[in-house]
Amino acid sequence: MVRHQRLVAESLTMDTLLQQLINGLTLGAVYALVALGYTMVYGIIGLINFAHGEVVMIGTMVAFTVIVFFAGSGMPPLLILGVGLLVSVVVCMVLGWALERVAYRPLRHAPRLTPLITAIGMSIVLQNVAMLIWGRNYITFPPMINKQIYEVGGASFTNVQVAIVSLAALVMLGLIYLVHRTRIGMAMRATAQNPHVASLMGVDINRVIAMAFIIGSALGAVAGCMVGSYYEIAHYQMGFMLGLKAFTAAVLGGIGNLAGAMAGGLLLGLIEALGAGYIGDLTGNFLGSHYQDIFAFIVLIIVLMFRPSGLFGERTGDRA
């Protein structure tokens, strides 16, 4: 018993806690960015785009290909990374637009289940296309940024993590600006409230919905590049789990709600890190770190029990 208490005390020190918070924050920033892609599309047409995780994966893969292509060219590494990010954003935008045009627009008036099944189908198609192009093996991301390890108060983090969190924050701020301060953002909010009335007011519904897919996919590409440079590996099935987690985050925050997706993503990242870090010690090794994912879902269930539409509520202007 004494030994057990000592072990608990050891792992409850401040530096470990700080480290776990840093771990969770990085993970959460990525989840939040991916969750935004789900939430944007859901907020406007009420469709859960299950292929979004695969868009993120394609983003990672494209960035990888571009970076490898330029790696030996003598260009400065940061520029190569920038070009990789840019190309992958553009490719994903086109992919998002094509997905909507080919798979979802023809089914817009079909029963709700039909586009959902199509989305799952597109996810499988994209996975297999990626397997054909990039192979079935793990791909190692060439490290473009010279990883610096900083130590603060006994916890360590890298410059890559700093870049991920700040870039994610920047992109999210940009999105909030876009939705609340621009014409296309106003059109999006109008379409979310009532597509028929919006179209009567002269809003081109097709264009607005296509924009939601394009912007969501661009965010996915950015998240994909982050995941790639953080873990330095990529795989054609990496989008599935990431997509599922991000979808969970979107539901946790209130699907359709932008602020909810961000908060849900960060929260999920923190819950996972703290859950895996402390669940074993707090339960006297009765539950181990393999309950990491269960922990996240328990929190989700509890939140949904008391707030069925998520922490921040389902989309701000509901269709009623």
Binding site: L107, A110, H290
Partner: protein, 406 residues
């Protein structure tokens, strides 16, 4: 409104027509290949040639598809070599065919694929790759009386079920766990162990054996953490491990988990040495972890490729045809050869007739002398401990293993 709805209805109609159309086309296609070999088998053409199908199962998609492909390539090379010899059994020239299936490293898919092979009338199975898929599938092969030889499932339970059909051609995890655990505790002088496993039958089984060996050698296990075989983020459990300050971290899991884990160990500034079993002891781990893989100690059930007694020709042929060996392709090569050898001795390709001969195998394979004990485990299986040095697996020491009699 009608104008808007019409295209939607049309598309749905078109889609359903297409689906129905496909379904109809699919049926004869799926049925077509089945009768052909079935017809060829009982009533051979005047030319005395017979097609014999051997099944092979490994994950060909998913995180460890590279290992699955490696196993399958080993088996393919064996089938090609056996066909080149124009082996005659019961007066007929045998043409072996490998039916390669994908179990996605998933136990449920593993049993589905196993049943598929049984229905396809294979005469024997090489596989599966993972212990987690091999164990449930072995019950299906056993019911059908099909000999099954796994080239890489190291969990002891596989051969402890009392099945007369289950064999393996490398040492199991009891042996491997004890060798690597004792090596870490004695030779590396580790007092405090942190053990991580991926909750698969393989990872968990090996980690348990390492824990036993470490405790037996007087070391303590300060942390026992878990992940899964598809995870890429291990910082939470590694942070916890860092706080316990172990001398050695052992991972019971595959290279796809080990690669990113090694990088994250470095990023968190953990000083402990990293050790792992055969699932992580591959060139792929070095590729995935890069410089972070330097100094990793790992074990394989078997002899190092360059020390395989009859391995030189295999090494050359395999590298020429398929490239670098990952881990177990020499063993899947031998597993096919053991089946072929048993058929030759029984002078029959009927599983009922040649199954007893598999148990009596005394075969000089590329991996050494292969003989089975009464459970189907290999007698005197070798374990080798490696260190990753300058981006290569360097042999530290080998235990057990019988060189083939020349």
């Amino acid at each position: 409104m009608n104008n808007v709805r019409m295209p939607g209805v049309l598309v749905v109609l078109a889609a359903s027509v297409a689906i129905i159309g496909c379904g109809k086309k699919e049926e004869p296609k799926a049925a077509a290949p089945a009768p052909a070999p079935a017809a060829a088998a009982p009533a051979p053409a005047p030319k005395p040639e017979m097609v014999v199908k051997i099944g092979h199962v490994a994950p060909l998609t998913g995180p460890i598809a590279h290992l699955g492909k490696d196993n399958e390539n080993g088996a393919r090379l064996a089938v090609d070599d056996a066909n080149a010899k124009k082996i005659e059994i019961d007066g007929k020239v045998i043409k072996f065919e490998l039916l390669g299936e994908d179990d996605q490293a998933d136990p449920k898919t593993g049993t589905v694929v196993a049943q598929k092979l049984v229905d396809a009338k294979v005469v024997g199975v090489v596989g599966h790759l993972n212990s987690g898929t091999t164990i449930p599938a072995s019950a299906i092969y056993n019911q059908s009386g099909l000999p099954q030889i796994s080239p890489s499932a190291t969990n002891p339970k596989y051969t402890q079920q009392g099945f007369n059909t289950a064999f393996r051609v490398m040492a199991n995890d009891i042996q491997q766990g004890s060798v690597i655990g004792t090596y870490a505790a004695k030779d590396m002088g580790a007092k405090k162990f942190a053990i991580i496993d991926d909750r698969t039958a393989y990872g968990q089984g090996l980690a348990d054996e390492v824990e036993k060996a470490a405790k037996a050698a007087g070391a303590t296990v300060v942390a026992r953490e878990f992940t899964n075989d598809k995870a890429t983020d291990f910082k939470a459990i590694l942070t916890k491990i860092k706080a316990k300050n172990p001398d050695v971290i052992f991972l019971g899991g595959m290279d796809a988990v080990g690669g990113p884990m090694l990088k994250q160990i470095k990023e968190l500034g953990i000083k402990a040495k990293f050790t792992t079993g055969d699932g992580g002891c591959s060139p792929e781990l070095i590729k995935l972890a890069g410089a972070a893989s330097e100094g990793v100690i790992c074990s394989q059930a078997g002899l190092p490729p360059e020390k395989l007694p009859n391995g030189q020709k295999f090494l050359e042929d395999f590298t020429k045809k398929y490239g670098q060996i990952q881990i177990y392709s020499p063993y899947s090569y031998d597993a096919v050869m053991v089946l072929v050898d048993a058929m030759k001795r029984a002078n029959s390709v009927d599983p009922v007739k040649y199954l007893p001969e598999v148990g009596k195998t005394a075969y000089d394979g590329v991996t050494g002398k292969i003989e089975f004990d009464e459970k189907g485990d290999i007698k005197n299986g070798a374990i080798t401990v490696f260190e990753i040095k300058d981006g290569k697996l360097a042999t530290l020491k080998s235990e057990g293993g019988t060189a083939a009699s020349k």
